[in-house]
Symmetry: C2
Subunit: 181 residues, 2 copies
């Protein structure tokens, strides 16, 4: 089980960034996203998408982050530009050999306690960038390509196409164009 | 030369997402980001960060995207959930063996013409997610770890630290904590 825990989400300001975090988690192989602030609108956005595009991805908001981290049974990885190198961290994770992983990504400033509660603080580069990008690279480096092209049981299926858009809609006949959600 | 071209940026709505795109481009090894809409505030944000954290990253806004693509001398890659598989695309890029690459990422709906002008339409997974995540995975898959931990000539340097934050500020003595920009 692979869960992404998003800290410091402010519904008004971070709506889009946290939606990106959730969709990145889903597309790159996580099972759930937990958000530390209650946000019903975010839940609806993600649940609607899961209904259309399939899979069993779960979103929870209003999660008490300290309890969630302390009671987690597997490894806890915090992504931050201040942590240790990615490849070093991946080797340590292999040694730990845990089934389950909790991956923490912050919005703005992350409480010092998070650095202490995490087994690993991992930097996806030591330059300021994006927690969405950091999550994407970490998941891709840890899990590889496999989750990217898995077939989900869904109403809508996107077929790879080098020259355009092909989306099969099981709810209708034929294929059609869809813009992104 | 590696340039990221961001299409469809609306300064009010997309400020943060495009900032994420620009910082992701910089952290993962691109040389420049070009944005199709004029946005002086975005330019200042990125330029301030480059001043503090170093490197020669360049941001241009108000770039005419059609001209930019048509006059580009190297390969043109468009990231979209509708394109061909990543590994397939990386093999084609190796065959093309171009020095320079233009990577296009959209905001919302991308004009059909972009699909036709690009040499490759590449999907980082065929699930809806984030253009920031797609850019991050593409750059990481194409360039590897090297750009992530390169040493830039800068006032501020982040030192990897498994248990906290270490930032060396050449403009002051000692080290200090900085939150993200």
């Amino acid at each position: 089980m692979l869960v992404v825990l998003r800290l410091g989400h402010r519904p008004s300001r971070d709506k889009r960034a946290t939606t990106h975090v959730a969709l990145t988690a889903r597309a790159l192989g996580a099972d759930e996203v937990w958000v530390s602030t209650k946000d019903g609108m975010l839940e609806r956005t993600i649940n609607d998408l899961v209904t259309r595009f399939g899979g069993g991805f779960i979103v929870r908001t209003g999660v008490k982050w300290r309890d969630a981290i302390k009671s987690w049974k597997g490894s806890v990885v915090h992504l931050t530009m201040y942590g240790q190198h990615l490849q070093e961290a991946l080797r340590e994770l292999e040694r730990m050999n845990e089934q389950d992983m909790l991956i923490i990504v912050g919005a703005e400033k992350v409480p010092r306690e998070v650095y202490e509660l995490a087994h690993l603080n991992v930097s996806i580069g030591n330059q300021p960038h994006s927690e969405i990008a950091a999550l994407a690279v970490f998941l891709y480096a840890a899990l590889g390509d496999a989750p990217l092209y898995r077939k989900l049981n869904s109403r809508l299926t996107v077929i790879p196409n080098p020259r355009g858009k092909t989306v099969v809609d099981e709810g209708r006949s034929g294929s059609d164009d869809y813009s992104r959600p």
